[in-house]
């Protein structure tokens, strides 16, 4: 039984397996299938300052070894989270981290401030891939300046562990990670979804109401691994890796590439108990290879 404990900033995780925002609801959806207390943490559905209806249906299309989604951050707003959801989930024995989204800096800051008050939420994940309404819809996350600006503002307002989630739809994810590190982020998580599109040849229509959407699942794993490896080589803060992890072997690949923790996203839809199985699989791998700690394989790629 190897030591699976890891730290991200000030925060300790009983193991490095967490679940990705938007794929795990608020955890409650999974209690029929698994014991939430057995995983390292849960990233909640993206939460915004106000209620959002999200995009029109259809919001999903299956693609080769993956899926596109266009949920569009449907959520009831941070106040509803605080009043109605937080009380139900706060006592799980796992780290519950709120994924904070917004379209303006003020929204991000206001949401982060509210979450900062919640005793049992030790960290937020800043999703900087949402469109920046003020700057004409480009997302904050695709330029160093945009990413730095939003992180700087939130860092001032939020005192606990701040994780910034990076968009892969960029020329140079490393410099964005560095910009975010420079502004005081405690960790970066990557990748968010790749922007993609699907068309029904027979009806000549896009499958999504929004035409384009976010690609996730095993198809994106090679891109995610590459970005995690590039970023982990460069920044000093811990990297949380995700993108297409379907089993323990995939997770190990991310650790070798330099991730300190991983998130499981789309895989939860296919096997709602997968995250617990991945914890077990990592443990088995470490034992089999004679490692005593997960840290023995973090960044241990022989390249």
């Amino acid at each position: 039984m190897a030591d699976l404990k890891i730290r991200i900033g000030e925060l300790e995780f009983k193991n490095p397996v967490t679940t990705a925002s938007g794929t795990f609801g608020f955890g409650e959806e999974y209690t029929d299938f698994m014991d939430l207390n057995r995983i390292g943490g849960i990233f909640t559905k993206g939460t915004t300052i106000r209620h959002r209806e999200g995009n029109a249906y259809p919001r999903m299309a299956e693609t080769p070894s993956g899926m596109l989604n266009a949920v569009g951050l449907q959520n009831k707003g941070v106040d509803y989270f605080i009043s109605s959801i937080y009380p139900r989930i706060k006592d799980y024995d796992t780290n519950i981290m709120v994924n904070v989204s917004g379209s303006t800096i003020e929204d991000y800051v206001a949401t982060a401030e509210k979450v900062n008050e919640l005793d049992k939420i030790p960290a937020i994940e800043l999703n900087i891939s949402c469109p920046n309404v003020k700057q004409g819809g480009m997302t904050f996350g695709v330029s160093c300046a945009g990413a730095a600006e939003v992180v700087r503002a939130v860092r001032k307002a939020y005192s606990k562990t701040l994780i910034v989630k990076l968009s892969p739809n960029v020329t140079d994810i490393v410099s964005i990670a560095q910009a975010v590190e420079d502004e005081g982020a405690d960790s970066v998580s990557l990748i968010n979804t790749l922007l993609g599109m699907a068309i029904d040849a027979e009806t000549r229509k896009p499958y999504l109401s929004t035409i384009t959407g976010g690609l996730s699942g095993p198809c994106v794993k090679p891109v995610a691994l590459r970005m995690v490896w590039q970023v982990a080589k460069t920044v000093k803060i811990p990297v949380i890796g995700l993108g297409g992890i379907m089993n323990a072997a995939d997770a190990i690949e991310f650790f070798l590439a330099g991730a300190t923790a991983i998130q499981i996203g789309t895989a939860n839809f296919i096997d709602p108990a997968i995250s617990v199985k991945v914890v077990e699989g990592i443990n088995e791998y470490l034992d089999r290879h004679g490692y005593s700690s997960i840290y023995d394989i973090i960044g241990a790629l022989e390249a």
Partner: protein
């Protein structure tokens, strides 16, 4: 779940029967299962299929399936003894009528008849006398008629008139009679026409929707339908909705 039978019904439908070594959990009418389709390279997500019937004595679950793409085609090849991974039961259910005296009409189109068989069986068991109105393109597309007849009177429409009355379900003469409540499942345009009829005649109407799903249990928010109170998940807040609740332009 282990396949105990795979019975072709016409060229494009088939009935799968499954048994389980443990006792099947309680399943409600209108609920569905999420089938993991293995060995099909184009199929990444699970496939939602309605509970067609539950035979408690035999500990048996039936799924009535139409071949539309790679997933359902793969399912059509299942053989007795194959082990299939599924999540179940998922979703809400049709609601039982206030009184066994209610005049209940179950309206199904195409493979949408699937959940109505189980619903009909439970209604019958509780002392109701449900009527079934089943529509298809042609006689060839009618399935499980003898099964339905065990639980109530069956009325039929086909678009080409090859069986029952010619036309759409909403044109059937049975609709002239007094009805207290309608349960419907089928193609969306059909369900909308049924909902319109129900609205115009002040009849309670519940419809079972078939939106595209990723998870099937409320986690991804992909399967929403627009309702009077905003987007709702068809998988966890449905698939059954009172049609008054839906934002259908009818």
């Amino acid at each position: 779940m282990v396949v105990s039978a795979n019975i072709p019904l016409g060229s494009s439908h088939f009935l799968l029967k499954f048994t389980h070594k443990e006792k099947l959990p309680e399943m409600l009418p209108g609920q569905f299962v999420q089938v993991r389709v293995d060995n099909a390279p184009g199929v990444f997500l699970r496939r939602p299929i309605s509970v067609n019937f539950v035979d408690k004595q035999r500990n048996e679950l039936w799924l009535l399936v139409q071949k539309v793409g790679e997933g359902t085609r793969k399912m059509s090849e299942y053989k007795t003894g194959d082990v299939v991974n599924m999540l179940l039961p998922l979703g809400n259910s049709f609601t039982m009528p206030q009184s066994t005296q209610s005049r209940l009409l179950l309206v199904g189109g195409g493979v949408g008849i699937a959940p109505l068989l189980y619903m009909g069986s439970l209604l019958k068991q509780q002392g109701c006398n449900p009527m079934f109105l089943l529509g298809a393109r042609s006689a060839d597309g009618l399935m499980q008629i003898d099964d339905f007849k065990q639980f109530g009177d069956v009325f039929i429409t086909t678009e080409d008139g090859s069986a029952g009355e010619k036309g759409f379900v909403t044109q059937h003469s049975i609709l002239q009679q007094h009805i207290d409540k309608i349960y419907t499942c089928g193609p969306t345009p059909m369900m909308q026409a049924v909902a319109r009829f129900a609205q115009n005649n002040a009849i309670e109407c519940e419809a079972s929707l078939e939106n595209k799903m990723a998870c099937g249990f409320g986690a991804c928010l992909c399967c929403v339908t627009q309702t009077q109170s905003g987007h709702k998940c068809v998988c966890s807040e449905g698939p059954v909705f009172n049609t008054k609740e839906l934002s259908w332009q009818i």
